[in-house]
């Protein structure tokens, strides 16, 4: 025994062929077997018109590997429709789905995600506004600055402002300093705000 010639006895599996006609993949997304659902999700990642179908399956999908395949397929499609299908998952009570949706949106092209930004940034839910800030950090410079500075200067929830403060500090753009100072002035008694803004100031000094 010990090392044997791998594959010499035909022990490794063979890739399934002719698994399903394209129109059958959608039906296979609902199959009882998780392996079939995962393969269907992988296959549908090649079809931009499947974005809504993939997104609709996500909240009902119990298997983590299939869920990951659904999310990856949506990232692969990377269209505004795919982003629109994912955005509602940011409000899910399921932390795994919520984080998966956020990571996936962060990996999508900016053009696909941008149409979702206004609704997220204007939400009554501060958690969604935090997600909007995290997504804004990936936008083009002008759009990004406008959204991050607005969160610093106006958002009523301190955690949204803190997320924006960390984002501008990471980006290292000294033009954000007035917005940061405005944020510090709005929450003068919060030590976390003072610390974060001070850290950003020091970073900008190092960068300039």
């Amino acid at each position: 025994m010990g090392l044997v010639k791998a594959g010499s006895k035909g022990t490794l599996g063979t890739a399934p062929t002719g698994a399903a006609a394209p129109e059958d993949w959608t039906a296979l997304l609902e199959h009882a077997d998780a392996g079939h659902r995962r393969h269907a999700a992988q296959a549908l990642g090649d079809r931009p018109d499947a974005a809504a179908t993939l997104a609709a399956r996500l909240p009902r999908e119990p298997d983590p590997a299939v869920r990951e395949a659904l999310l990856t397929a949506l990232v692969r499609i990377g269209s505004p429709e795919a982003a629109a299908g994912l955005a509602p998952m940011l409000a899910s009570e399921d932390a795994g789905l919520r984080n998966g949706a956020l990571e996936s949106l962060q990996q999508m092209p900016v053009d696909a995600v941008e149409p979702q930004m206004d609704a997220l940034a204007g939400s009554d839910d501060s958690d969604l506004r935090i997600f909007a800030v995290l997504l804004a950090a990936r936008l083009g410079p002008a759009e990004r600055s406008a959204r991050l500075h607005q969160a610093l200067e106006r958002d009523p929830h301190v955690n949204v402002g803190l997320t924006a403060a960390e984002a501008v500090a990471e980006l290292g753009d000294p033009a954000a300093l007035p917005a940061l100072e405005a944020f510090a002035a709005r929450f003068p008694d919060d030590p976390c705000v003072a610390y974060t803004v001070d850290a950003a100031r020091r970073r900008f000094r190092g960068a300039s």
């Binding site: 025994m1 010990g2 063979t14 890739a15 399934p16 590997a65 395949a69 990232v75």
Partner: protein, 290 residues
Amino acid sequence: MAPPSEEPTDGAVSPADYRTLCDLLRERTGLSFTEAKRYYVQRRLAERVEATRMPSVRDYLNLLRFQASGAEMQLLVNLMTVNETYFFREKYQLDCLVNGMLDEVVRHRRPGERVRLWSAGCATGEEPYSIAITLLERWPRVDEFQIELYASDIDSMALDRAREGVYGERSLQALPAELVERYFRPVAPGSWRIIDELRESVDFSLVNIVDPAQVRRFTGIDVVFCRNLLIYFDDLGRRNAAAMFHEALSPGGFVALGHSESMSRMSSLFVPRRFPDAILYQKPAEGAGA
């Protein structure tokens, strides 16, 4: 067609053609090249444009896109991949393999059952042969199980060299002399060939690890070594690769990544496991959840 002014005359590639090439490579192979790699890519591209006698970069890109055999894409990929490695590279993970990982893998297996290891992105073969040598030298239970060792790469020329098993001093630099003597035979000054027994113990194959159709034949794998490969992929490519490994692994199986790589930034499907020698990523056992 793009206006003639977009076609540089100094051998450089236009920004539009560079983007097209990078998109095509990402789409077909998962490999990701940014603007920072332009010089590296451009040199290899120019080499292939000249070799194929294509009148322009744009014509060469069309050849890549539409050639039914995919042969030219394979040749370009061979040029684009980096195969610099050596025996016992990142040895701490080989230590981990025989100091705990495999004992855990076989905990519930009977003698004679299979253990499957996969070196994904094996380049010229140093990694799978290092695994084989480590098992033979240092895992006391090596003879109790049928150990299958698979190795794959997207570079067909690197695989040819791996199968041939001939290495220079640079590849052998970290191997103790007694292991060189035991597992290699000199074939020329400064050149050694790995012994046939070892060469025949590794199953080499051409695989694009982000292509589900190609990876699906790997099933029941217990350990995947994928070190310093995913750094060449973008987020989506890494995510796809992680999903492929998850699919190929048995429940409780492990992934070993390079020292600068972390699964937590690629996939939530694995659980980090700290062993005395290394941190690995484990597919949860059945019933354990993700």
